[in-house]
Amino acid sequence: MIVVHVRGQGNNRLDEHASEVWFGRLDARAKLAGVFAFIVVSAILTRAELVFASLAVALTMTVVSMLPLAHLAKMYLAALPFILLASVSVFLFGGWERGIQMWARTSACVLPLLVLAAGTESFDLFSGLRRFRVPAIITTLLMLTQRYIQLLSEELARMILARKARGFTEGRSLLDWYGLRIISYTAGMVLVRSIGRGDRIYEGLKGKGFNGELMPWKKSHITVLDTSFVSSLVIVAGVLLTLQLGVVQ
């Protein structure tokens, strides 16, 4: 009951795709272990052929996950500025081959993380972290913060709409003091409302027996599909690492 209260009864907008696809139904621990292992290995690859092989695996995972590609592309675009800055810089100083390799390596790491983010319900993800012995204080804060973010985002959207309805337009530069004052008051109001709301929610949680730690919201078991998923990613990561280190030529 406590956890349902924190998790919220309705569907989270961020998790809307997670329950629709097979990837979303995998155990969070399997997803975390497999994806993290693959990302850590992909991040240290320097041989061009291995970097492109890891990108091919990441792209395959993206397609096979059955998550909406448009949604993932939007998330990828948000990470693109930093990837491009690095790739263009390497291109200018080390030639086009190195520049493309930098883009491929960062993309091979970013894509599985986006699949993990879009294909896992937030509370499953945090429960998985707790089961991996991440301190309770951190996982509980993650769960509560995630819940509050939904509430405050809706609050912010309403405030911005009200602001627009009163004719406010965001200024054009840092010299627009009026615009900046309104923006800072909006941010201040978000904090004031969040503090008030936090206190009320705390009282509600306490009334339901909250003792500082949130337990996983549902039971889950490792299935054959979970094991296959982790094994395949760990095997691929292991092969890439072995080739990178030159253990096998």
Partner: protein, 329 residues
């Protein structure tokens, strides 16, 4: 400022993770009990508030926008320890739920935005606040300036750390990772010097609003704190804590600095070599040396850093004691 996976040299990423885990472990040990149970939802709600405040863009000029980082704001509202934990939670949510920032790069991202930004912001705020207060009072303009300067410094120093990490990655990997210093340093510092101005104005505005509407929300402010006698004030005083916060920020740079350090001769040594002048035997030999490998140099550096910091704190204390004797007849 979120660094994605695959951009940083693995050694630099590993150092980032180790430093972040050491800092987080120490903070959980020191402040974990303070934020348990009753404060847990409040810290969570502040983290969510900062996360949502980061979604509000402000205009910079030329059609571009920036957004709040919030490290200084969080630290001034809730104190540096709580801010480190809260900002860590914000970054974890951004990485795991939005793919913003990476897993191998999380250590460095957290170091920049969850440790360096709040510590710098809080340290600068506390030091400037002490300097601008006269008889325990401060004008609202001076208050706004202090908050703005602290927020600007937090963004600028975090950006400088990020630029340095990118440059070190590039240098130690011979260009396989990171971004060359000639690109990363001017690009990051130039961009964030301007974004920092926006951060400063917004942070000052938010805190002015909070002071007028809900002053109880700013839990880090403790105007009634007693001045402790002697050594206890030196260790526990707010000024000393702020100095320690700034020192920690500099200490965090040491492992990367030693990774980047050149083994070549310095200017004087090179001149002596060119002039064929040999170094004579010193009358007194030091029992310490800088060491030959990375870890011994790092250990010597940390030891030297701590010694200099302690001596500086001692001198500060002596100067303050002499000053207070001079003013009280």
């Amino acid at each position: 400022m979120h660094i994605p996976d695959g951009l940083m040299d693995p050694t630099v990423s590993a150092i980032g993770w180790i430093e972040f885990l050491v800092v987080l472990g120490a903070v959980l040990l020191l402040a974990g009990n303070r934020i348990k149970e009753k404060n847990l939802p409040r810290v969570a709600v502040l983290s969510a508030g900062i996360f949502v405040a980061q979604m509000i863009n402000f205009p910079i000029g030329g059609g571009t926008t920036g957004h709040l980082i919030g490290g200084a704001l969080f630290a001034i509202i809730a104190g540096p320890m709580v801010a480190i934990i809260g900002m860590t939670v914000v970054l974890l949510i951004q990485a795991l739920m939005f793919g913003d920032g990476g897993i191998t790069a999380l250590g460095l991202n957290a170091l920049n935005m969850a440790v360096i930004a709040p510590l710098t912001g809080w340290g600068v705020y506390t030091l400037l606040k002490t300097m601008t207060e006269k008889g325990g009072r401060r004008s609202s303009v001076a208050g706004g300036f202090v908050v703005g300067a602290a927020a600007w410094a937090s963004v600028f120093v975090a950006a400088a750390a990020c630029a340095a990490e990118l440059a070190v990655s590039y240098a130690v990997s011979s260009g396989a990772y990171g971004i060359a210093a000639t690109v990363s340093v001017p690009a990051m510092l130039g961009m964030y010097a301007v974004i920092g101005v926006g951060e400063g104005i917004i942070t000052a505005g938010v805190l002015a609003y909070l002071w007028s509407v809900l002053p109880d929300a700013i839990t880090s402010a403790s105007p009634t704190r007693k001045v402790l006698p002697g050594l206890r004030e030196l260790i526990c005083g707010n000024t000393a804590r702020a100095v320690v916060a700034i020192i920690v920020v500099f200490a965090l740079a040491l492992p990367l600095y030693f990774l980047y350090a050149s083994a070549g001769k310095d200017g004087l040594e090179k001149t002596m070599e060119n002039a064929n002048v040999a170094e004579g035997e010193p009358p007194l030999a030091s029992p310490f040396s800088y060491g030959q490998d990375y870890f011994s140099a790092l250990f010597a550096g940390l030891l030297g850093f701590l010694s200099v910091a302690l001596v500086a704190l001692g001198i500060m204390k002596l100067v303050r004691m002499r000053g207070s004797r001079g003013t009280n007849p």
